[in-house]
Amino acid sequence: MMRFIAWRLIRAILTVLAVALFVAVALRISGDPAVIALGPDATAPVLQAFREQHGLNRPIPMQILVQFQAMLHGDFGASMMDGTQALPLVLHHVMPTLEIALPALLLKLALGIPAGILAAVRRNSWIDRLVMAGAVLGLALPNFVIGVALVLVFAVKLGWLPSSGHPNFAGLLLPVISLGLAGAGVMARFTRSAIIGVLTQPHVRAAAAKGLSRYKVMLRHVLPNAVATLLPVIGLAIGGLLAGTVVVETLFSWPGLGSLLVVAVANRDLPVVECILILSAATMAVSNLVMDVAHAWRDPRIVRGRH
């Protein structure tokens, strides 16, 4: 087990490193950083001075190593927009994003999992059809369309809720619902197929045959086994917490990571973009790691099977 965890940990670290390396290489092949920073009109001596100042005249692997060393010390460079350090700027925007991403995740799980269980248990009933229709719709609806529809109804027509970012409860509602609804449909679909997968197994029939009530069969035999299938899906949802809100934040002018990223991309503010990319890759890697370990703890066959 320890070896398994260590191996997964190394993989998670390697993933984040690979992202950083990938960005660094992509940056170097996209053009001369000095020309990008100073503009096409800069004269040769100015460019030369800039290169010397930022160490751009050294060999490229050396530059990347120096950059990695700076990153390990939390130095991602200064934002090209206003010269503030990228890392504090990005961290400052994490909280607002979590404010809508966490409730949306809860909504997704609280709505999706029970709906999926219900659909699996009452298979082929109208509940099942309703849930599956919702899931198909959730898969086809981009979350900005849900958001736009909600704004149109609740903000423009009815005037009940504000259409853009206010850090109070009413302002939270629309972004959270638009994020959570579509995800809930997908979650329900995964849950339903996980439960049905377990329900068809012989041990469940055996449990029912020895006289356990449906409720107990569900609670003791079906759900614990279905959790193993659901963990990776939940892991993906948690890993995508910081990354998933980009579109909805922009729609609702919510001052989080997503809005920051969109502005940074539009202005090609590379230090900020790089910082957000690495932060979300790290979130994803940590979440995958935790879920892998949880999965292995639930199902020890995984540890023996692979390594």
Partner: protein, 291 residues
Amino acid sequence: MRGAIRASCGEGTEMAIMSGKSRPLVISLAFGWLGLVLLLALFGGWFTETATHLDLPNRLHPPLFFGGDGSYPLGTDELGRGMIARLVASIRISLLIGFAATCLGATIGTGLGFVAAECRGWIEQAILALVDFQASLPFLIVALALLAIFGNSLGLFIVLMSLHGWERHARVARATALEANAQGYASAIRQLGAGWWRVYGLHILPNIAGPLIVSASLAFPEIVLLESGLSFLGLGVQPPLTSLGAMVGFGRDYIDIAPWILVQPSLVIVMTTLSINLIGDWLRDRLDHRL
């Protein structure tokens, strides 16, 4: 991740069986809508000439039945451009990007999957590591970062979109090619002296086309949604070109006075991706029982 994708695919079979009687009608409606959209995309060229035509006196002209007369049946946008022409032009670009990126991604992924299946050893491990790497990243953020680094043009944007989902094609291609290699026909052709190009292109590819089409049918709607999301943010398709997502994005400023500008393209996006998903589920059921 792998388990999750498998679970979702297995669901397709479940659903098709479950929907019972209602399935054919829904599927034919979906086919009808997709056919209409495809016709518009292929033969709508003469509409798009008027897509950039400004009719400033008739700005924000409401559609028929919403207070408008018949001069612009679906109304006009903030610059007096007819909504019908704008929609057709957008459908053309969105579908072009969707198709081109799906085909490109399927080609890259299948190619890499075949290389992995043929070479084995460290090359296979490297490709699998790349697959895992791609699958473990939030793709929207990666796409945005690449847009920031490389700037934006239509060609580059299509290449970028094709990076979404290649890893799934690669997995499917590798797994099915390994399976096919273990069967008699592949080694028979090899012993007749066929090169790998002939073995894979002429013999293995046709035999594993089903799962690959299934994998492409999953990627296509996702790419259309991704494109519309990025264009909605103003970071995808750039003016004077337009796409469905871009129309919603620009229409956002007029949500309270001219909601039709963003409602119409939103409806087109939803109907299109819904149709593709429904048909995809149905196709999955017919073509492939393993996925």
